[in-house]
């Protein structure tokens, strides 16, 4: 269903293609504020590459278009209605820069590393132990991303359609004592003493007015692996009728997490419900036509299973999934 999600900023994925490494010197956290420049939102047709603008930031600069995506109040400021050309659309495109090729996001929050509590900062180091939290700035490669709609949308003359975008921010960022984990979406302090990273703030797109149900699973590598060892997360959204909306995979760091042999940096490129309710899913790989891992039958409960990594597509890799 989501197999046509096109990543225009393909380089984003390419530069984030390293494996998932967890260690005791880094930990995930949920920022209290995440400012992202949202320059435009479009209905898009992947067939003819045509778009219909439904939101446009009137500002000329990145700073003029920053939206705190952790604040529902600020997200509500994006609500807009626009006249569009009739036609069939299969994607939503979110633009975060013009022709700069990259954009900056600002993160503010707190994270505990070892027994020490840190807050983010804008100074020489992105983490500090004293004072109030300030924004650490991370840079993402790429200017826009296209997200598949659950079904193709045909808009006829005189019709008004409602597009909803959902953002999931729990454990989207991580702090570390040391150099950055990945090149994109990170900032390192002087001498690589501290670093802060954030996963790409992907959205799931939906036509209608649903309030989604979000299911989060933490994955640990190996048969019988403990939940505390989890190093990957799957975030999957369903509408009120239990129809799939979309989802994403993300890294998960804790003091006890153990690295997994695959990559959790990308949205889910394909996810379908099987007879009986299990999910058939795979995430994006280093390009829009590739994947990092896939799971043929993923029960929607805490379970043991096997995944396949792109490097060994026919080899079962055991995992434990813990539903949150």
């Amino acid at each position: 269903m989501f197999n046509k999600l096109v990543v225009l900023g393909g380089l984003i994925l390419a530069v984030m293609s390293g494996q998932s490494w967890a260690a005791t010197d880094q930990s995930s956290f949920t920022p209290t504020s995440i400012k992202v420049p949202i320059r435009g939102i479009y209905l898009h047709s992947s067939t003819d590459n045509q778009g219909a603008e439904i939101y446009n930031c009137s500002g000329d600069s990145e700073a003029d278009c920053l939206v705190d995506v952790a604040s529902q109040t600020e997200l509500d400021n994006l609500i807009n209605t626009a006249e569009i050309t009739t036609g069939t659309y299969d994607q939503i495109q979110v633009s975060t820069c013009k022709d700069e090729g990259e954009y900056n996001a600002q993160i503010k929050g707190a994270v505990t590393l070892g027994s020490t509590s840190y807050v983010t900062d804008s100074g020489d180091q992105p983490l500090k132990t004293t004072g109030d939290a300030d924004y650490a700035t991370v840079t993402f490669t790429g200017c826009s991303k296209n997200y598949d709609l659950p079904t193709d949308l045909t808009v006829v003359e005189g019709e008004t359609v409602s597009v909803k975008l959902f953002v999931a921010l729990t454990n989207i960022a991580w702090g570390k004592t040391g150099a950055v984990t990945v090149p994109s979406g990170c900032i390192a302090g002087t001498g690589d003493s501290f670093s802060v990273c954030m996963a790409y703030p992907d959205v799931a797109a939906y036509i209608g007015t649903a309030s989604p149900t979000v299911e989060t699973y933490h994955l640990s590598e190996g048969s019988g692996a403990a939940e505390s060892a989890a190093a990957g997360q799957l975030i999957i959204m369903f509408d009120a009728d239990d129809n799939l909306i979309g989802g994403m995979s993300r890294r998960l760091f804790s003091e006890t997490s153990v690295s997994m042999g695959t990559n959790f940096d990308t949205p889910l490129r394909r996810i379908t419900k099987l007879d009986g309710g299990n999910l058939d899913l795979e995430n994006f790989g280093s390009s829009a036509d590739d994947y990092y891992f896939k799971i043929d039958s993923f029960p929607r409960s805490t379970h043991s299973g096997n995944y396949n990594d792109i490097s060994a597509p026919t080899t079962d890799q055991p995992y434990e999934a813990y539903k949150q």
Binding site: D76, I79, E83, T85, V156, V161, F166
Partner: protein
């Protein structure tokens, strides 16, 4: 000759009508609203 001219004129007028109709069709409009929600 007058009949041929009349036919050509009618075809020409019809052609313009069809053309205008086509343009008009491609420019028909609808509306889309967008909103963004944080879900966790």
């Amino acid at each position: 000759m007058k009949q041929l001219t009349s036919v050509l004129l009618i075809v020409a007028v019809l052609g313009i009508t069809v053309s205008i109709g086509g343009c008009s069709s491609s420019e028909t409009k609808a509306s889309a609203s967008v909103s963004v929600s944080r879900v966790n």
